[in-house]
Symmetry: C2
Subunit: 422 residues, 2 copies
Amino acid sequence: MAGTTLTTPTLADKLQAAKDASVTLATANADLKNRGLLAIAAAVRAGTARILPANELDLANGRGSGLSAGLQDRLRLDADRLEALAQAVEQIVGLVDPVGETVRGSILPNGVKITQVRVPFGVVGAIYEARPNVTIDIAALALKSGNAAVLRGGSAAENTNRVLVEILQEALVSAGLPGDAVQTIDEFGREGARELMQARGLVDVLIPRGSAELIQTVVRESKVPVIETGDGVVHVFLDESAPLDWAVDIVRNAKVQRPSVCNALETLLVHRAAAPRLLPAVLGALRESGVTLHADDDTRALFPDSVPATDDDWRAEYYSLDLAVALVDSLDEAIDHIRRYSTHHTESIVTNDLQNAERFLNEVDSAVVMANASTRFTDGGEFGFGAEVGISTQKLHARGPMGLPELTSTKWIVRGSGQVRA
Amino acid sequence: MAGTTLTTPTLADKLQAAKDASVTLATANADLKNRGLLAIAAAVRAGTARILPANELDLANGRGSGLSAGLQDRLRLDADRLEALAQAVEQIVGLVDPVGETVRGSILPNGVKITQVRVPFGVVGAIYEARPNVTIDIAALALKSGNAAVLRGGSAAENTNRVLVEILQEALVSAGLPGDAVQTIDEFGREGARELMQARGLVDVLIPRGSAELIQTVVRESKVPVIETGDGVVHVFLDESAPLDWAVDIVRNAKVQRPSVCNALETLLVHRAAAPRLLPAVLGALRESGVTLHADDDTRALFPDSVPATDDDWRAEYYSLDLAVALVDSLDEAIDHIRRYSTHHTESIVTNDLQNAERFLNEVDSAVVMANASTRFTDGGEFGFGAEVGISTQKLHARGPMGLPELTSTKWIVRGSGQVRA
């Protein structure tokens, strides 16, 4: 077949095609990118009859290979979920294009003008598992921020993702954009994922989303710069002065409203002096909601039918209606506990003491630190970002909920009139 | 010796001590950090008699082991160089403390106030070679930005760095700051460098400075997030409309003023239609300065005694009075050449054509893009940053000259009054 265009592309071919497409995307204006987004939304709706059979095939394979019920649920698409995805893409149309924003600038003493402006990364890689909605989300966010996207969605969703990427590429071409701006590399399997992680120079940033194991593998093996998105051992500390109603509301909301997500509460710390005043109402409300308490001895003295906590409980990301509870003697002890066990995602203090609130906000070293609010607010949508790439738990480049600006780099533009350096 | 404090610390002990010290530094205000910087400057001056013998020992070892003359020069300290280092530290006192700066913020519809503020990374690691001045520079920049520093300066400067770190630690303690905020791990050798690169969680960012080989090793092996600082295949393009005087001044300055540094010109591209008008004066001036031209055939037709260029010349970082020269037919061809061979450090166009200037600035994907200015301006000092950590050639977190803000991360501070998520 040499000499024809039907040769199957290698992974290197696909990365190079994405890189080439990124050059066009980098200078596409917001109007053009928004036309692409609207075409994607329309294509997802129009493509329902193509997408669902492919998804059904993946689901059947998953049932055959013993995929867990939870993963099957994340894998499953239906007409309602596709409509929600299309609407999410349309919402991205309304977000401000981050490309071209002036970050800072000045005129040097010699008259040279320097300006730091936002530019796309170029090629964004994503590695995730069994969540075909991420295929659409990342492709749309990458497009709006002027990036090409290379997607490794995992073998469990391979048929779904292949059809979704076909539909995405058709939509891009129909809007006058390069179809190669979205690529799947699922067909290259695990070896393809490894090759993607080595592609420094072709891929500018790699974002893993999924299990802690997946994320740690990417962090360990990737030579492409990684943004680590992570799970949370999230803490709430009820200070001595915590208002009772805030304590009850915030703890219940943080634990119960959606226990399976990374910003849900996992460990509750309570000031010993306030325990008799707060715990009956706070823990009573949790029990009404079906929460199992894993408590230290001091808490069990007050609530004897709690499960005794072990050291493992302070490190647990339950993602379920379980909660570790400990009494502490002071704010210092609470901060020490958090420093020891937190994954630095989100921590909140409930207090009416201004000094303690400020100390907690300053001294706790997490992506998001809160006073008197539910940890469930750590979310791109809640923060007003409109869409979220993930929640970064590293300190380099992005920290906390990532929106469109976090999918950009910067460059310096220097305008002179013949100046040279003395 | 169990039970005493005289046990030799392991590398893990040192990293943990740096991490603990970083907690104190993170909340130190600018006054305290500036007192530390002034104490460091005074200690460097007062310590000259301790530093120079250690440096002499390293130099003697270097001569014995065949260290190149260039590396010996970088390794050598004397009274003047120490005074210059002390003055550089004093200049950092005058820079704005980046910690606490509000990056963005808003009040959510439910009244929750969110603010993104700059915070120190925590622990900054640096791996470099035979340049003891970097020990002082990085320690001072890390202190001002509230970070602890773990330094691997290489075996060639081991004695010098050990004394410098002792002096730094004494100065920190004298100012009421934790001495453990600066650590050297030179005594652990190559194995120590490897362990530092694995210390994700204890070290927040790793900055390699030095040879391309050193930097690539760190990029390849580190699990700690890396900021790649890099060499430059730097281009100047003389467009058809380039004013002659600007062309002569900028090319000569970019190539000749300091050829051994990363922002020096390496490849000159010239629009074919302007070559007869520009080249005699531009290349004549370079020859007067002793520059050897490695030219393509078209240029050699005009300047027959140039060295014929090979493909290697387009990739060359000469760091010497050598220059690759090629004629191109158009702006597009110039941009294509740059896309193919550039290391994305700095590129400049000399032109009087507004459209071409804007296209070059928008389409060339380098850390710094210029119109009508010398590439030698890519420098933290020239940009007004006061001091420079290095020049980042990656796109994640920092790009181009890095100042104090690039040594910080951010965190989100959320202030509520009992709000929960609906």
